[in-house]
């Protein structure tokens, strides 16, 4: 259902009236005006092999606007990764609908995912890893190496394009992962805690780089993290999720000006205020789950 345009959408037929409340045709300015992703009443139940059912998501509804950077933050087990995996079509929802609307011309993939660390193929060089998505789409070898090399340079790995992942540091691996997703020029970028395993310094560097690349083309991004800091630094909106089962607790608009400087943004009083606010919310939740 996701590969269809706004009009012909078999999955979204019944919802065509009320579902896209904020959607106005032709209005492209400002975020959250044109809905890019519409999630409605999503639930997901996993059935274990021993017959035990686990509910990962319960009635999650969310709209992500065209060109919006949305961060989803929550403790582990809150279903945020499941939600992202459903958006990436790696899982199917148990009930509810998810619509991702194609607005660009065909030939561009609708979405690409940046995974947690260790997702580069150990048997492919950096160049082949970055060109992987292009290769899967049947882009001729010469053209895809050219495109891949351009993005490898963007993330500063030009001297390592013939290296294998095990020869790279954690930060370099995630740079390559970013390049692998960006080179496909997807309409939506889905990111699953891509910098979680990095040390603090590398994390800041990569966050800055991600913001820099993003400022250039303003793709729609859904970014999963368990770090409140990271969510506030990167997002236009922060979705706070709690579990178990996963549901959305609150959605906050983040109004730090762009382009953002990671270090300076962190030093503002507003940043501290928001951090405390989200932390209080999650803290009570984590305690509640613990006692249950």
């Amino acid at each position: 259902m996701r590969d269809d345009g706004p009009e012909a959408s078999p999955g979204g037929d019944h919802a065509a009236g009320g579902m896209h409340g904020g959607h106005r045709q032709g209005a492209q300015s400002g975020h959250a005006v044109t809905a890019k992703i519409v999630v409605r009443d999503l639930t997901k139940v996993f059935h274990g092999r021993n017959g035990v059912a686990t509910q990962a998501l319960a009635g999650v509804s969310l709209q992500v606007g065209e060109g919006e950077f949305v961060c989803i933050v929550g403790p582990s087990g809150c279903g945020k990764t499941t939600l992202l995996r459903i958006m990436a079509e790696l899982e199917t929802p148990s009930s509810g609908t998810l619509e991702m609307r194609r607005t660009a011309a065909h030939g561009r993939p609708l979405h690409a995912m940046v995974f947690q660390e260790h997702s580069l193929f150990p048997w492919l060089t950096v160049l082949d890893n970055v060109a992987f998505g292009l290769e899967m789409r049947g882009v001729p070898k010469k053209q895809r190496s050219e495109q891949a090399r351009a993005f490898i340079e963007t993330v500063g790995l030009q001297d390592f394009s013939e290296h294998y992942p095990h020869q790279l540091s954690g930060g370099m691996k995630q740079r390559a992962s970013l390049a692998r997703a960006f080179v496909n020029d997807p309409e939506v970028l889905l990111m699953d805690e891509p910098f979680a395993a990095l040390d603090a310094q590398n994390k800041v560097l990569l966050q800055e780089e991600l913001l820099k690349i993003w400022e250039r083309n303003r793709k729609t991004v859904v970014y999963i993290t368990h770090s409140i800091d990271e969510a506030l630094l990167l997002g236009d909106r922060v979705v706070v999720m709690t579990g178990v089962p996963g549901r959305i607790k609150e959605i906050l608009d983040i109004d730090f000006q762009r382009p953002r400087d990671v270090v300076e943004t962190k030093a503002t009083p507003r940043f501290a205020e928001l951090t405390v606010h989200i932390w209080r919310m999650l803290e009570s939740e984590v305690r509640r789950v613990r006692q249950a």
Binding site: L90, M113, F115, H118, L124, M136, R137, H166
Partner: protein
């Protein structure tokens, strides 16, 4: 210390290499000396020089090449006929839960049978000719390759399948870019084990029923008490093992470059 600051004499590495070469040579010298002194009974333990002369005679008469050729021919066919279905079945079992459920008990039940124990049965079905020797190698090898390939596929991290799926990898790309390279290190481990087992099996099979081959050479030398030729046979089969292991390692370096400096 020398004038330019380097420690005098050899580096530790050079010393180690020196010792590695010298110690077997010293042993050979000792052996030869004991033979000259008649401390070793030449009827049972011929001297290194006698063995060398025996080897030269076998090479001159062309006899050694006949035996070596016969064994190599059987090994090549046996390995080929064992590894190809082994890899194919291993991939199927690794990829399909149902194929695995169907074949796992069969494999588990028949794998522990010492393969040389069924040689008489194989000869009954395939005759005394080349076929039975090729078949017994293939049977011995197929299990090792199959089990290693299956485990190789099963231990590919699921995240790689997720990545492939998220980029809409067509199945043939999934196969050539994810499954095969992911399982390759363990497939190679299976191949290396196979070569070792194939050498054991071929020599044993040639003891019993053959008109040529290294095993046949060792066995007839024993029957005619030409002990130096027995030693020649043993040396040849050992060299075969060492050379094939070396070639496989080199092939592995070329085919699995991402494992090289681990």
């Amino acid at each position: 210390m020398t004038a330019d600051g380097r420690p005098a004499g050899w580096s530790m590495e050079a010393k180690e290499r020196f010792l590695a070469i010298v110690s077997p040579l010293a042993l050979l010298l000792l052996w030869q000396a004991l033979s000259w002194l008649n401390a070793l009974d030449a009827r049972f333990i011929p001297s290194p020089i006698t063995i060398f002369e025996g080897g030269v005679a076998l090479i001159r008469s062309g006899e050694l090449w006949v035996h070596l050729g016969a064994s190599l021919w059987r090994l090549a066919w046996g390995l080929l006929l064992g590894t190809i279905p082994g890899i194919a079945l291993g991939l199927l079992m690794g990829l399909s839960r149902y194929v695995r459920a169907a074949l796992d008990p069969l494999v588990a039940a028949t794998y522990p049978i010492p393969k040389i124990a069924i040689l008489p049965l194989i000869m009954l079905y395939f005759g005394l000719g080349e076929t039975s020797k090729i078949v017994i190698i293939a049977i011995a090898v197929v299990y090792l390759v199959l089990i290693n390939t299956m485990v190789g596929v099963l231990t590919i991290d699921t995240i790689y399948f997720d990545v492939a799926k998220s980029y809409n990898a067509p199945w043939h790309k999934l196969f050539t870019r994810v499954i095969i390279p992911g399982a390759l290190p363990l497939i190679f481990a299976g191949l290396r084990l196979s070569v070792g087992v194939a050498l054991i099996v071929i020599v044993s099979a040639e003891f019993v029923a053959a008109k040529a081959g290294i095993g046949y050479l060792i066995w007839t030398s024993w029957e005619t008490l030409v002990i130096e030729n027995m030693f020649v046979g043993i040396i040849v089969i050992t060299v075969l093992g060492v050379v094939s292991t070396f070639l496989l390692k080199e092939l592995e370096r070329v085919l699995i470059p991402w494992h090289r400096d681990r």
